[in-house]
């Protein structure tokens, strides 16, 4: 019976996203909400805000799960509201860009539903070796910061077609496997709620992209992944799964020395006349993961995107191993 519910939740998310994505793309194009894909020589215009279809799929799958398991509706709704709040902030940013300081501050709000609905482990996170911590006073503040960090870190690692959607799909799968290892029902069902819409986004966003996710998608997906880590008590495994995102955000911020928007700083990547991408040697440009990968030499966008996804798979494997360590050492 339980396997049927899980399959159903995944299917609802996948199908509703798949059906809504073409309509969202058509709507965005008709309203002129398009972005130029600057990593191609012909610079095609691509519909923006494809993340709206992810939110539609996520809402459908989470509500389906809540209807099938009304006794667990509380945590399911906390998860959904967290993702929706981040998505709304992302939509505002897509339509009227927010400043580099306001956006991260607003994303702190995405953790509020988890706190208000008590959908977290009140004693604190669980780590391998250490086991259950006792951080009951600090943990609520950590939750707010954690969701702001995950949503903005995911938003920052979107340099090439399909990297954000692909790497987040890998993180979701690693959280799902970690939940199975640790027997965490919440992590399992929430990962399935997100996995369907994410796969659809990847299908449409992979090279060559037919849609851009927009901040509406990246912030919502980041917040949803953070919420899975908190509600599913998978914090340590999530930190490892998020390694490429953490690396990218941390290096970028430490090079620039403050919060920044992409448009405010020199671009870290250069498009060559032969269509390949190259890392700039401009010392003022942020050291991002894309720039580090391209420092070895020029690459086509498809290869660069594949490299980032492979790195995500490696961190995903390490995160699953971390979950296994949590099981055997605590």
């Amino acid at each position: 019976m339980f396997m049927i519910i899980e399959s159903l939740v995944f299917a609802v998310g996948f199908v509703s996203s798949l059906l809504s994505m073409p309509a969202v793309m058509k709507f965005m194009r008709s309203r002129g909400i398009v972005g130029v894909d600057m990593h191609k020589l012909d610079r095609p215009s691509i519909p923006e805000m494809g993340g709206v279809a992810v939110l539609i799929g996520l809402t459908a799958s989470t509500l389906a799960a809540a209807a099938l398991m009304p006794d667990r509706a509380n945590i399911l709704l906390a998860f959904l509201f967290s993702a929706l709040i981040a998505g709304i902030i992302g939509a505002i940013d897509d339509l009227k860009p927010l400043s580099a300081r306001v956006k991260p501050l607003l994303t702190l709000l995405s953790g509020v539903p988890i706190l208000l609905m008590g959908a977290y482990n009140r004693r604190g996170p669980i780590f391998p070796m250490i086991g259950q911590t006792r951080l009951s006073l600090v943990y609520p503040i950590v939750i707010l910061i954690a969701l702001a960090v995950t949503s903005n870190a995911v938003n920052m690692l979107d340099p090439f077609n399909g990297t954000m959607s692909g790497s987040c799909t890998v993180i979701t799968i690693s959280m799902l496997i970690s939940s199975l290892i640790l027997d965490r029902w919440e992590g399992l069902i929430l990962s399935l709620c997100l996995l369907g819409p994410l796969l659809v986004l990847y299908l449409f966003n992979k090279y060559p992209a037919r849609v851009f996710s927009g901040d509406v998608g990246s912030l919502a997906i980041g917040a949803a992944l953070g919420a899975i880590a908190i509600i599913g008590r998978l914090e340590a495994a999530a930190v490892i799964a998020f390694a490429p995102q953490i690396m990218n955000a941390f290096y970028g911020l430490s090079t620039i020395g403050r919060l920044y928007e992409r448009r405010e700083v020199p671009r870290p990547v250069i498009l060559r006349d032969d269509g390949r991408l190259e890392a700039t040697s401009d010392p003022k440009a942020p050291i991002t993961l894309a720039r580090i990968i391209l420092a070895y030499g020029p690459m086509h966008e498809r290869e660069a995107a594949r490299t980032i996804i492979i790195l995500s798979i490696i961190s995903g494997i390490l995160s699953v191993f971390t979950a296994y360590l949590m099981k055997v050492t605590t």
């Binding site: 972005g35 130029v36 894909d37 600057m38 990593h39 610079r43 691509i46 923006e48 780590f127 391998p128 070796m129 250490i130 951080l135 600090v138 979107d158 340099p159 090439f160 077609n161 992209a209 851009f212 930190v239 490892i240 390694a243 690396m247 941390f250 290096y251 430490s254 448009r263 020199p266 671009r267 990547v269 250069i270 498009l271 060559r272 006349d273 032969d274 190259e278 890392a279 700039t280 040697s281 050291i287 720039r291 580090i292 990968i293 420092a295 070895y296 030499g297 690459m299 290869e303 594949r306 490299t307 492979i310 790195l311 490696i314 961190s315 390490l318 971390t322 360590l325």
Partner: protein, 98 residues
């Protein structure tokens, strides 16, 4: 592509091992710490502070390794491209989405 992935995997493995070592230090050294004549609340704050310092050191090591690797790799590539006449000068700076 293989070289890039191998380098990053080694860094990831190193940082993962450092995290496990840090957690071991917290578990075996910091958590059992008892300071005589000091209020338990102060002791708890010291423990959280020491653990936070470890986490910051972890992030700092991570940053330094990658920063050095990045500039070393970029300089090696620039040297090679200068010799072959292939490099940044042929490109154009890009602005826009994605």
């Amino acid at each position: 592509m293989i070289r890039r992935i191998v380098d990053f995997t080694l860094i990831l493995l190193f940082m993962w091992a450092c995290m496990i070592l840090g957690l071991w230090i917290i578990d075996r050294i910091i958590v059992p710490l008892e300071i005589p004549y000091v209020h338990p609340l102060i002791t708890a704050i010291i423990k959280v502070g020491a653990s936070s310092v470890l986490a910051i050191i972890w992030l700092w090591i991570w940053r330094e390794i990658v920063k050095r690797m990045f500039w070393h790799t970029l300089k090696s590539y620039r040297r090679r491209s200068e010799q072959t006449g292939d490099g940044e000068s042929g490109g154009k700076s890009i602005k826009g989405n994605n």
